[in-house]
């Protein structure tokens, strides 16, 4: 029983990071029809930014709450800034062209950014100091020892879901974004500059990915240059399974993938969880291309 509880929480925490990256991807694809490969690299860059802030605190005592919040804030700002610049400098020039070119530019950017990080800090993992309460203090739930970090990750993901939903539902920008997901041409025909929403959503996606990067680094106690690629692949699964432009779909998909991974890896065979996740993605693309989010727009 305690194993099951433990795995549920671990699965939810991993799913939380998938959601942080995947929700941004889902909104970006839904609105802009751009499949971005760059957000994985933003996640890695922000994980390093977080580590850069945290590394000066001692490994034994761990950073204070203040430093931790500062690291998270820096992650959000760096991720948002990177995404903002990408959209303004690189993607704007390509909106008249094929979607493939936009995909290629983000892939090239991700490739370069990871290479740059490799050049500065090398491919080896760096230890990330975490406060003792984050990883070592546990709470007993039905006999399972759950680390506080799990609650933090899950809490952040839930708060983010609520905040983004509120933003989409109750603000004017959110209204334009929702309308743009439904029918971009119509929004443009009504005289609204939909490109401002593109910038906004791309930046929000980057900021959220940055937050995910710092949290993932804290959760794993380590950063290296490959984490972004790994999370990006699962964020793609979340995007496909959840459906484009659907936040709730992304949340359900992230939850499902996180849990599936933990349980299959533990009970059957290490690696099976990952394999099943990718099979799930392939099956969704072929059988239900609109995803669980249920919007009848095909992922063409």
């Amino acid at each position: 029983m305690s194993n099951v509880i433990l795995m549920i929480f671990t699965g939810l925490s991993v799913g939380a990071v998938y959601f942080l990256l995947g929700s941004g991807l889902a909104l970006i694809f839904g609105l802009m029809r751009v499949l971005t490969f760059a957000h994985g690299a933003y996640l890695t860059a922000c994980a390093y930014a977080g580590w850069f802030i945290l590394r000066h605190s001692s490994l034994a005592a761990g950073p204070s709450i203040g430093t931790l919040l500062l690291a998270l804030l820096v992650g959000v700002v760096v991720g948002g800034a990177l995404a903002f610049l990408t959209e303004r400098v690189l993607l704007r020039a390509l909106y008249q062209r094929d979607h493939l070119d936009q995909l290629l530019v983000t892939a090239g950017l991700g490739f370069s950014l990871v290479a740059l990080l490799n050049g500065i800090w090398g491919p080896d993992s760096r230890a990330v100091p975490t406060p003792p309460w984050f990883t070592r203090t546990t709470t007993d739930i039905f006999g399972a020892h759950i680390a506080r970090g799990d609650f933090v990750l899950i809490g952040v993901a839930v708060l983010l879901l609520i905040a983004l939903e509120a933003f989409l539902k109750h603000t004017r920008h959110g209204l334009v974004v929702r309308a743009g997901v439904e029918n971009r041409e119509m929004v443009r025909a009504l005289g609204i500059d939909v490109r401002r929403s593109f910038t906004l959503i791309f930046t929000v996606g980057g900021a959220v990915a940055g937050l995910g990067g710092v949290l993932a680094a804290l959760y794993a106690n380590a950063v290296n240059t490959t984490i972004g690629d790994t999370y990006l692949l699962y964020a793609f699964i979340v995007l496909v399974v959840g459906g484009l432009g659907s936040l709730r779909g992304a949340a359900i998909a992230a939850l499902a993938v996180g849990l599936l991974q933990q349980f299959a890896n533990f009970y059957v065979n290490p690696g099976l969880g990952e394999i099943l996740s990718f099979i799930l993605m392939g099956a969704m693309l072929l059988l239900r291309p609109e995803g669980v989010g249920g919007k009848k727009i095909r992922l063409i």
Binding site: V105, F111, S112, N118, I275, F278, L299
Partner: protein, 366 residues
């Protein structure tokens, strides 16, 4: 004229093991040295792979993020059959390519049901399945270490440093074969349909072509040739390398095409050779004493071939969508227009003519 130049070039490359020309820093030593032959051989195999990928992405417009998977299947199939079964050299090679074909049929028959971006994602997923299986050491695939070829099972002529030139010739032969085959295929009727699909799939469909079948055929040809290239690569490397299944390997193929010029066989070749030489040689060049003295802000970008390639790639997508081949062709055309070259020659340059015209309209309607 052009076939003669090509044949001359190939003959020259075939003589490379006997040339003591200095490598000028592009190659580790003189051209004929063991190290240089190894680097060149790698470039040839990767170029052959890039040409097969060009058939898919450049000619037909199918952006696969899992092409490295078929290359890896050839490599791993071959090496693992040699290492774990009693199969001999030729049996292992043939069965490995057979496995690649079967996998290619399954993956592509399914993935082509979806279209464009969904095809990319399904191929990505398929390649990841293999990457995970290898990472977890399923079937003894060795995890991050890969699998080493049991050298006693290779023909004696391919083993050992003295025989590096034979492996080099094998790689060159593969490249020539792939190049000729791809050039020929793209000038046939089927090649024209591929381009029609790239330009406008709906139009090709309306004209009466079952585009699904044409796409499946190009995917099968490309994957099979990739499997063959994988076998040669395993012989060259002496092992099967897990890096071949990674996402960045497949993105590397995309970068080669953009660099060289997609939709042109020799563009893919050019891009792959430039890419491979940069990747293999840049770290060695930049670790030399002169560069090490430079400040960090200059040294770090120079020492990272991936960074340089990534940035150049972005600039090419933005400003030179035709790649290096496009630049060269533009220059040739300018020279011909300015000079007094026979006008018939331009039409004979089928590769270029095919790349600029809208292929769908070139196909006779029936």
């Amino acid at each position: 004229m052009i076939p003669l130049v090509l044949a001359g070039g190939v003959a020259l490359l075939a003589c490379a093991p006997y040339l003591a020309v200095p490598g000028l820093g592009v190659l580790p030593d003189t051209v004929g040295s063991i190290g240089s032959l190894q680097v060149l051989g790698t470039a040839y195999v990767i170029a052959a792979l890039a040409i097969t990928y060009d058939l898919l992405m450049g000619y037909t417009g199918l952006v696969s993020f899992g092409h490295g998977m078929f290359f890896a299947l050839g490599s791993y199939g071959f090496v693992m059959l040699l290492a774990f079964t009693s199969a001999g050299f030729w049996t292992a090679a043939a069965v490995a390519v057979g496995i690649t074909v079967v996998a290619a049929v399954i993956v592509n028959a399914v993935a082509l049901r979806a279209s464009l971006i969904a095809y990319s994602m399904v191929t990505l997923a398929a390649a990841q399945l293999m990457a995970i299986a290898i990472g977890q050491n399923y079937l003894g695939s060795g995890g991050v270490d890969g699998v080493t070829i049991p050298f006693e099972k290779l023909p004696a002529g391919l083993v050992g440093i003295v025989n590096t030139k034979h492996v080099y010739w094998l790689a060159l032969g593969l490249l020539v074969l792939t190049f000729v085959l791809a050039r020929w295929l793209t000038t046939t009727r089927i090649g024209h349909v591929w381009r029609a699909i790239r330009e406008n799939e709906l139009r090709a469909e309306v004209m009466g072509f079952t585009t699904y079948t044409y796409k499946l055929v190009v995917a099968l040809i490309a994957s099979t040739l990739a499997g063959v290239a994988g076998v040669v690569y395993a012989i060259l490397l002496g092992a099967a390398d897990p890096g071949e299944t990674s996402l960045s390997f497949s993105i590397g193929l995309v970068i080669m095409l953009i660099l060289g010029g997609r939709g042109r066989v020799w563009g893919a070749l050019l891009g792959a050779v430039v890419y491979t030489l940069l990747q293999q040689r840049l770290p060695a060049i930049t670790s030399s004493a002169g560069v090490a003295a430079l400040p960090d802000a200059i040294r770090i970008p120079l020492a990272q071939p991936q960074l340089l390639l990534g940035v150049v790639f972005i600039l090419f997508v933005l400003f030179l969508p035709g790649g290096l081949a496009g630049v060269v062709e533009k220059a040739i055309r300018a020279v011909r227009r300015g000079g007094s070259g026979p006008p018939g020659d331009a039409a004979a340059d089928g590769e270029f003519a095919a790349a600029v015209r809208v292929p769908a309209s070139a196909e006779p309607t029936r």
